[in-house]
């Protein structure tokens, strides 16, 4: 196949035109994708005095930019779990009457180990470590997740 001058020009200009369109679209689309905000590597947060925390209750704690639910069971044991429902991102709450964790958005239920026991949530809640240091509650990231 011989390439005549018209064909050559068409291909040459066509490629140039595509490149031009691309050079317009690329920055535009890139602009729409938000930049990554570097997340401060938080390893632990303090959550108040252990004795002041009412038993059989739960509270949402700010762990960096993520919510964590801290629960003091009726046996006065502390449990900390990711508060982000694994179904569709709502924030869970502690149910004192049944000692379970409820997500009100679609009635997802978890037990105190964070296991999804009924409703739509597909996965368990990630557990965090809780330590009491000098009377103060310290929540820290589970070791395998950093």
């Amino acid at each position: 196949m011989s390439i005549n001058r018209r064909n050559f020009l068409n291909i040459f200009l066509g490629t140039g035109f595509l490149g031009w369109v691309g050079s317009i679209l690329y920055p535009l689309i890139s602009y729409l994708i938000p930049p990554k905000v570097s997340e401060a590597k938080i390893q632990s947060v303090k959550a108040g005095i252990a004795a002041d925390f009412p038993s059989n209750s739960g509270k949402i704690i700010k762990f960096g930019r993520k919510p964590v639910i801290l629960i003091k069971t009726n046996k006065n044991k502390f449990v900390a779990l990711s508060a982000t429902c694994t179904h569709l991102d709502c924030i869970v709450r502690y149910r004192a009457d049944t000692n379970q964790i409820l997500c009100a958005c679609h009635n997802g239920l978890y037990d105190l180990k964070g296991r999804n026991i009924s409703g739509p949530p597909p996965r368990p809640l990630t557990a965090f470590n809780v330590n009491i240091l000098n009377e103060e509650i310290i929540i820290s990231k589970p070791s395998e997740m950093s």
Partner: protein, 360 residues
Amino acid sequence: MNKKSDDRLLNWLDERFNISPFLDFMKHKQVPIHKHSVWYYMGGVALFLFMVQVLTGILLLLYYQPGVDSSYESIRFIVTKVNFGWLIRSLHSWSANLLVLFIFIHMFSTFFTGAFKNPRELTWLSGFILLALALGFGFSGYLLPWNELAFFATKVGTDITGAVPLVGKAIKIFLRGSEDVTGGTLLRFYAFHVAIIPAIFTFVLSVHLLFIQRQGMHEPDFYKKLPREKQKTIAFFPDFFLKDILLWLIVLNILLFLAVFFPWDIGIKADPFASAPQGIRPEWYFMFMFQTLKLLPAHILFIEGEIVGVLMFGVGGVAWMLLPFWAGKINAQIRTRVLTTLGLLVVAFILVMTIIGYVM
């Protein structure tokens, strides 16, 4: 203005812009009259409500300040301090809901009367895009007051898009402006709501109306079969047009009644670090999808329930959008029956799921 000066003005314009073809067109355009003629008015009502949205929306812009620390406060300011601010906001919210309602009524009426068929495929397609944009208006507007209900509904709504295979994650981050629903999401939704969607909507609406003007109103089969002299019509201008205006006035009164006696609630300010309260729900027109997702089990054959749901609605939506392009392929003898049954099933599904959503 008397008749004479009327003519003088028209002549003056005609000399400069040659408007007589347009006037002739308006004079000769006829609208068929038959037992289903009422449905011809539904699109017009939607058009009127959209104009109400533009007007009240622009008025809200004078005081609304997007931002995590200002959205809720500025709307509180509008409804408590600004003269008649409560009315403008209530009108915008009520009219938004009526608009979506009338778009649905309009769409189903063109479905059941068969108006979507050849040669009106593109009218249907542009109408479907308008529905999608109106839903986008509603979804983005819902978050703007930055209240608790809207905050969690937006979290859920945007997280659902994450279930779309392959591109889901990118869409979710594009919508949210980051991994989470934050002040950045609020700003994005604001831009969608007051600039991007209005611009696209206005363009598609113009195209939709242009198609309708070029083709005239659809005549149902039973009407087409009537002998010529039995096919009653009225002139679009001024007869049909005046009826349109009359209906708009009635709708405006209903709207004012609703806005005054059932003012729209502001709710509680959103707190991104609080448990979701009981009773999180989207606006009623998303309820049927929301409720379906709620009823799906966590896993269907190893696939997460909501992925199945999202795929189902995605495929269903595309099929509905492309309706005129495949409906013609159904065997002509059973076509009407098949389509009517299908339409009734869709309506029944939407109604049942919506009702379950509110009583459960």
